[in-house]
């Protein structure tokens, strides 16, 4: 057999990729190339490498599966779904003695994202667990709306970004996923069942390791994915019937969907033959109602709840300036220049890796609220940010490049062979 050539497939290949030791099994890569040690309950060997000032996740996996996942992640990205960004594939790997190695899938590390195990220092508190599951439910609904069947829904296969006190979930592992035109109820239900069992397993594992707060019940908590998902799905897609006189319910439905963070791109309205009852059903909904509006007004690209928070502050700014009649864009521009940017710029350079600017802004608003409460009067935002930067932010961990903590890599398949065949 002739030697195969190393092949790199990437949308924007970085020549520095060639300097990585592709001829070595990923498990044995020298530390000098690694940004951190392995994490996650993973079926495959995964490493984080530093490359031209960025961090890439490298997953060793059969080449055909790597290609499949690479293209799947690209397709999901094109659909504007929250997932990690694929960077490339390295195939044709061979050790110096000619042993063929599996391919590698490269994804960009998602800045300020957190694996679920990094979200608690000692034990996972019930309310944190619930917020993670709520974020995962939103992600799953969004994926299902676009026809993506995940096949391995779990906390481990998800990354979380802080989102104004809540979380936004991102899909990390699309290995088992399939993109269909639409999903059948059976497919959605199966995904949901997988999610519930995996989450319960993950929480039971934390419990067994003494890492789950004693008041949290793994099974009860895992059931939350089902109720949250089902409620959200029903609200986003359900058919609603009402009397002709209750037409306000059309606007009400749209308002509720907006409140949940979704825009209605298409709403089917029909009447019965007599015209006495009306039925409505959203046909196309689009996540990111608030973040799109904020982006349009200010150019800020942030998570949905952060956007909601920022828009609220913008509204408050407008009211306080008595500028309700003025053009929204102009007021937004002023708010950005006079409120948002001064606040986020106050963060010293050495603290910028702690939290994303929009999350800092959210926290400063919270901080101001508490300060005002204590003081018994309104505290100016300038004072709040100074105090926050001095007393709160330095105590927070750096979250810009958290690659995981206290996890075990347990490839089931890859280490097979030593035992098989004996029985």
């Amino acid at each position: 057999m002739g030697r195969v050539a190393l092949e790199i497939t990437a949308a924007r290949p970085d020549p520095a990729l060639l300097d990585l030791p592709w001829h070595l099994p990923l498990e044995t890569w020298p530390e000098e190339h690694l940004a951190a040690l392995p994490r996650g309950i993973s079926r495959h060997v995964v490493r984080f490498v530093k490359l031209s000032h960025r961090v890439l996740a490298v997953k060793e996996i059969k080449t055909d599966i790597a290609f499949r996942e690479y293209h799947m992640l690209r397709a999901l990205g094109r659909l504007d779904l929250p997932c990690v960004e694929p960077f490339g594939i390295v195939s044709g790997r061979e050790q110096e003695d000619g042993t063929v190695l599996d391919g590698c899938l490269l994804t960009r590390h998602l800045q300020f994202s957190l694996p679920y195990r990094a979200l608690f220092s000692q034990t996972l508190r019930p309310d944190t667990a619930k917020r993670l599951i709520d974020a995962l439910a939103v992600l799953l609904v969004r994926l299902h709306l676009e026809g993506f069947w995940w096949g391995d829904v779990s906390l481990s296969n998800t990354l979380f970004r802080r989102d104004a006190g809540a979380f936004a979930a991102y899909l990390v592992d699309a290995e088992t996923g399939e993109l269909h035109q639409t999903l059948t109820p059976g497919q959605r239900e199966h995904d949901l069942d997988i999610a519930r069992v995996n989450i319960a397993g993950e929480l039971m594992d934390l419990e067994a390791g003494g890492l789950l707060h004693e008041s949290a019940d793994p099974i009860e908590t895992s059931n939350r994915i089902v109720t949250r998902y089902t409620d959200l799905w029903e609200e986003l897609t359900g058919l609603e019937r009402f009397e002709k006189g209750d037409r306000w319910r059309v606007d009400e439905r749209i308002r509720r969907l907006n409140e949940l963070g979704f825009d209605v791109d298409e709403l089917a309205i029909s009447t019965d033959i007599g015209g006495t009852t009306i039925q409505i059903q959203p046909k196309v909904v689009d996540a990111g109602h608030h973040s799109r509006r904020l982006l349009r007004l200010t150019g800020l690209d942030v998570e949905e709840n952060q956007a909601r928070r920022l828009l609220n502050d913008l509204d408050a700014f407008r009211a306080s300036q008595d500028r309700q009649g003025e053009d929204e864009e102009i007021v937004a521009h002023d708010w950005l220049a006079r409120i948002y940017e001064p606040v986020t710029r106050t963060v010293p350079r050495d603290l910028t890796a702690k939290l994303e600017p929009a999350e800092v802004f959210h926290e400063v608003l919270e901080h101001r609220w508490y300060m005002s409460e204590r003081a018994g009067h309104d505290v100016p935002i300038e004072d709040a940010i100074q105090d926050y930067v001095k007393t709160v932010l330095p105590g927070k961990p750096d979250e810009k490049s958290v690659l995981g903590v206290d996890t075990v890599e347990m490839p089931v398949i890859a280490m097979l062979g030593d035992e098989i065949g004996e029985g």
Binding site: I41, R43, I61, K62, I65, D102, G151, D152, S154, S156, T176, Q181, T182, T184, P185, G186, Q187, E189, H190, D193, I194, R196, V197, N198, A200, G201, E202, M204, D205, L206, A208, G209, L211, I219, S222, T407, V408, M410, P411, V412, I413, A414, M415, L416, G417, D418, E419, I420, G421, E422, G423
Partner: protein, 372 residues
């Protein structure tokens, strides 16, 4: 445990005119290991998912035992998809890793313990039940993952290309293990693969699909010895069966300059003046010039006792119709197994004659098997 029945089961994807699975009929016996096999897009995975409840059934029915499950949700069907997610949890014992899904399902604690013990016995994991997965070897971890499906005691196991992420060597080992485990458990199993070798080595019966249509469902032996059509003939067996078009003549078919005798009855249903003859590589003998099929040897693969020759047969030149069309004669790859001690040389022309009674005849027009 249960039987499974696909009864005219049909799946048409929205926006498609052609069914992805077209009137599938298969009766699977209680405890049987049935493998669905075929090339990509043949409908094998769709069929499995119809059984699992993940794909809608647009027409026909699916039965598990005496229950019509056509419209039941996946979790009400009492089937288990195996190997979908096999993460092991590091802080939990082997017993808990195997039994935790039962806990979620609300199964009684003593019942969980009982089922986990039973499964551990079958999987040779009894001594390790209180250990953590980290203390296990790779193979044992694999069995823990299998144990998770076994303790559920489903009526049917469903496996969709479970070995696709293994390398070739591990694939062979694991398929042996799955097949033997299935026989020990005796649970009806439906297994999907694109690999005909996997299908033939694992299944009690194999169902070959192509373009959404069941081509044949038989035991591996019957499938190999008696393919119902040209597609199955070419798909099952490795190396593949040689297929060549031959002219029908008095007393048989024309082969090289001679005639290969075929009973008249065998050919009476043929539509054209030529038929497709199939002969497996091991069913050929070397013969002398002028007898049999001339084959130019391209590659010789020596395996010790046997050798395989890969060559090119000019198979159609016997036929008038082809001669008249002008141009180059069609060349077909041709494979034969010969004695490993005296294999022919590369570049040599050899003459190969089918062993008597070991040819398969197919109608060239519709591909169907002719005669018995």
């Amino acid at each position: 445990m249960a039987t499974v029945k696909f009864d005219e089961a049909t799946r048409i994807y929205p926006g498609n005119d052609i069914p992805s699975v077209d009137k599938l009929n298969i009766d699977i016996a209680d405890g049987e290991f049935l493998v669905l096999v075929g090339p990509s897009g043949c409908g094998k995975s769709t069929s499995l998912r119809m059984l699992a409840g993940l794909e809608e059934v647009n027409d026909g029915k699916i039965w598990i035992g005496d229950r019509d499950v056509t419209n039941l949700s996946p979790k009400d069907r009492d089937v288990a998809m195996v190997f979908q997610n096999y993460a092991l949890y590091p802080h939990m014992t082997v017993a808990d890793n195997m039994g935790f899904a039962l806990k979620i399902a609300g199964v009684d604690k003593s019942e969980i313990t009982k089922r986990v013990k039973e499964a551990a016995k079958i999987l040779d994991l009894e001594p390790y039940l209180e250990r953590k997965p980290k203390a296990l070897s790779g193979g044992q971890r694999q069995r823990v993952a299998m144990g998770r499906a076994i303790v559920r005691q489903p009526q049917v196991f469903l496996m969709d290309e479970p070995l696709s992420n293994l390398d070739a060597k591990l694939r062979v080992q694991t398929r042996t293990q799955i097949a033997s485990l299935q026989r020990r458990l005796g649970v009806t199993t439906v297994y999907v693969t694109h690999d005909q070798i996997e299908a033939m080595t694992m299944g009690d019966r194999v169902a070959v699909l192509k373009d959404g249509i069941l081509q044949q469902c038989d035991t591996p032996r019957r499938m190999y010895d008696h393919p119902n059509n040209v597609f199955v003939a070419g798909f099952i067996g490795s190396p593949a069966m040689n297929l060549l078009d031959v002219a029908v003549v008095d007393g048989g078919v024309k082969l090289g300059t001679g005639t290969y005798p075929v009973a008249r009855d065998h050919l009476k249903d043929a539509h054209g003046r030529s038929v497709t003859m199939g002969v497996r590589p091991e069913d050929l003998d070397l013969t002398t010039e002028g007898n049999g099929i001339p084959v130019v040897v391209d590659v010789v693969e020596e395996l010790g006792a046997d050798a395989y020759i890969y060559g090119t047969a000019k198979d159609a030149h016997q036929h008038q119709d082809y001669d008249e069309s002008g141009g180059d004669l069609p060349e077909r790859p041709f494979i034969a197994r010969v004695d490993g001690r005296r294999p022919p040389q590369k570049g040599e022309t050899v003459y190969l004659a089918p062993k008597e009674g070991h040819v398969h005849m197919f109608d060239t027009e519709n591909g169907l098997r002719l005669g018995d």
